[in-house]
């Protein structure tokens, strides 16, 4: 950076105009080079989001779609129920409950993914390099099959006449099938199954970079296995753990196929609610409003994680 600046003061006055022109030219080139990126962000990020934002402040059309009338009904509807006859509003927790159920299901999913994913990633990262790729390959294989198909497979496993129940009955452990399908457990299991690779891969990436000589050094300094894990490995794998949690948590919150198939009608999650609004209920503004509220909540929690979580991230001693 110094080279261009050091010799300028002496020739400053004569050169100033050409320097300005040069800077301008540089800036233009930079924008030209950035154009594809900016265009992409605009087309697939900002534009659709703006449409959703605008729609959420309109009234629903009669047969789906929207009608161009400004209205805050969609947001009011989230918290209040309108009486069909006298149009008075009364407070309702219906949607809040769906919110809370979604958040807690997503949290459980994330925790379960972390508990399963971390040891998996650790195992892969400690394999000899040649074998690591094979393991990673195995982890990514399920991606080759459509999520819908995989979820149906899960359904076949969990249902009353499914593999688990039949074999348990066969060996005489139980007399009648344990109802597993259409429970929160089934939804969680389905979500863990669907999103586990998103936990394993980033944690693997940060564990792979981890210098295992540090682990040796901490053994040398009287740290037992558990303490090495807690004081050295986990703190150093933290970026991967955080990325994994975010990558699992966010799609779990908005998941739609899995709760629809494995949760039945009982375990409605936000994704299903949104889908319902754009489908049967034909209330696009309300669907848009739910989607936006969900997005804002996710954003707020991410920001607060980055502001407070990351700073505390360096573990103090004790």
């Amino acid at each position: 950076m110094g080279s261009g600046m050091t010799d300028q003061p002496t020739t400053h006055i004569q050169l100033s105009s050409s320097v300005v022109a040069e800077a301008k030219r540089l800036r233009n080139t930079r924008y030209a080079l950035l154009a594809p990126g900016i265009l992409t962000i605009f087309c697939i990020g900002i534009m659709p989001l703006s449409i959703v934002l605008v729609y959420s402040f309109l009234e629903p059309g009669d047969f789906g779609g929207i009608s161009w009338v400004l209205s805050f009904d969609a947001y009011v509807q989230l918290l209040f129920e309108e009486d069909i006859f006298d149009e008075t509003l009364s407070f309702t927790t219906d949607y809040i409950q769906i919110f809370l159920r979604s958040v807690s299901l997503a949290l459980f999913t994330t925790i379960a993914c972390l508990l399963v994913g971390f040891p998996t990633a650790y195992f892969i990262a400690t394999q000899p390099p040649a074998r690591r790729n094979a393991w990673l390959f195995l982890i990514t294989i399920p991606f080759w099959t459509n999520l819908l198909i995989r979820t149906y497979a899960m359904l076949l496993i969990l249902r009353d006449q499914g593999v688990i129940n039949l074999s348990l009955i066969e060996i005489g452990l139980i007399d009648s099938p344990i109802p597993m399908l259409y429970t929160d457990f089934a939804v969680c299991l389905g979500l863990v199954y669907a999103y586990l690779p998103f936990m394993v891969l980033p944690i693997f990436a940060s564990l792979e970079k981890l210098d295992f000589r540090l682990v040796e050094a901490s053994y040398d300094l009287y740290a037992t296995r558990f303490k090495v894990l807690r004081r050295i490995i986990v703190p150093l794998a933290k970026p991967g753990i955080a990325a994994g949690c975010i990558l699992v948590m966010i799609p779990s919150l908005g998941a739609f196929i899995t709760p629809a198939l494995l949760g039945g009608g009982k375990s409605l999650m936000l994704g299903n609610l949104i889908e319902l609004q754009f489908g049967q209920a034909r209330n696009w503004p309300f669907g848009s409003a739910i989607a936006l509220v969900l997005m804002v909540l996710v954003m707020l929690s991410l920001i607060s994680y980055l502001r407070f979580g990351a700073k505390k991230g360096t573990p103090a001693h004790g």
Partner: protein, 368 residues
């Protein structure tokens, strides 16, 4: 044989380490090594790359298990003890400082793992920081330190738990010449002040000689010679040891007579004189290699006082002195080294016919 009482800090008994399946297909990193290191000793393992120095340290620290043999630490058998149960700490060649902790946190880590009370931890950390002169940087992250500073932190971290034995694996190899010299002095001082047994690894012979109480010279998984620096330098037993530790002239000769650890040799180059004889080596009349250090040779004007003579074939200057390569009538070449004392050196020029004297007690017979 190794019936050392409990005072020995470390007693390594007929220990081998083979990486891989067996002797034939694997790598023999240590081959039946026996070694006793005394308490409070500054002991150095010296040898070329790949001779098994790190392997020996790793066996003592517990990162590897010996294939054969056993290691006893202050009377306690170490077999099966994991690294975190051995009162031994290591200063790693690559330092291995914890990047997510500050200097002080790095140093307190070992003490915390030993569940020491907080007050003790903070006072020990302070003390050790002072010992390595790093008090002012206690709250820095370790990746914001210079190489020398990181080295000190690594040292402080290993010293803080007050281990019985400190293992140092080439801790100075990453430092520049000047810093290296400083740290050598500092390490020696620390060893004196703490009274901890140091096992120091280096492949720098000068470093080994200046710092150690005793040195073990290794090659290919074997310990060739153990002794104090002057024994190693002045009385090398093996050709490899003589060669590895500094410059040396090796001349052909034969044994004329022998008496215990001394023999009279007749050099092919002409001189006959007394030479040190390694234990149970050499029989009368046997052809032997005789070693003489270049600084034990000097020019003499008087041909009558000369032991050898020849022509100066090459002169090289290295600042504090000169090396002269001299070709003798026997066809052998000797290297002669003298201090730089200004004009005196100008007396000897390329092509000059010169007479050389060998200092007393400076010849040593080598075995291969």
């Amino acid at each position: 044989m190794s019936q050392q009482p409990a005072t020995a800090a470390i007693d390594i008994r007929e220990t081998s380490k083979i990486y891989g399946k067996d002797r034939a297909s694997g790598v023999v990193a240590l081959d039946d090594v026996s070694l006793v290191i005394e308490d409070n000793e500054f002991f150095t393992l010296l040898g070329p790359s790949g001779c098994g120095k790190t392997t020996l340290l790793r066996l003592i620290a517990g990162f590897e298990q010996p294939t054969h043999g056993e290691i006893v630490l202050f009377g306690e058998h170490l077999e099966g003890l994991p690294p975190y149960k051995r009162p031994v700490n290591t200063v790693f060649q690559h330092y291995a400082l914890f990047p997510h902790m500050t200097v002080a946190e790095n140093i307190s880590f070992g003490l915390e793992m030993l569940d020491k009370p907080a007050t003790e931890i903070s006072s020990v950390v302070k003390e050790v920081l002072g010992l390595v002169q790093m008090d002012h940087l206690a709250d820095r992250k370790t990746d914001q330190l210079s190489g020398g500073q990181q080295q000190r932190v690594a040292l402080a971290r290993a010293l803080a738990p007050k281990p019985k034995v400190l293992l140092l694996d080439e801790p100075l190899s990453a430092l520049d010449f000047k810093l290296r010299k400083e740290m050598q002095v500092e390490l020696k001082r620390l060893q004196n002040e703490t009274g901890i047994t140091f096992i120091f690894v280096t492949h720098d012979q000068e470093e080994a000689l200046t710092m150690s109480d005793r040195v073990a010279v290794m090659r290919d998984g074997l310990i060739l010679q153990v002794g104090n620096p002057s024994e190693i330098y002045d009385r090398p037993a093996r050709r490899f040891v003589a060669d590895f530790i500094g410059d040396i002239n090796i001349l052909k000769g034969s044994i004329v007579s022998r008496d215990g650890s001394l023999a009279t040799v007749q050099l092919e180059a002409g001189h006959q004189g007394e030479a040190g004889l390694p234990m149970n080596a050499g029989s009368l009349g046997q052809e032997v290699s005789v070693a003489i250090r270049p600084e034990q040779l000097s020019f003499v004007a008087d041909a009558a006082k000369a032991n050898l003579s020849g022509t100066i074939e090459h002169i090289s200057y290295f600042g504090s002195g000169f090396d002269y390569a001299i070709l003798m009538p026997s066809g052998e070449k000797v290297m002669l080294q003298i201090q730089n004392r200004g004009g005196e050196n100008l007396a000897y020029q390329l092509g000059d016919q010169v007479h050389i004297a060998i200092s007393d007690n400076s010849m040593q017979i080598l075995t291969d």
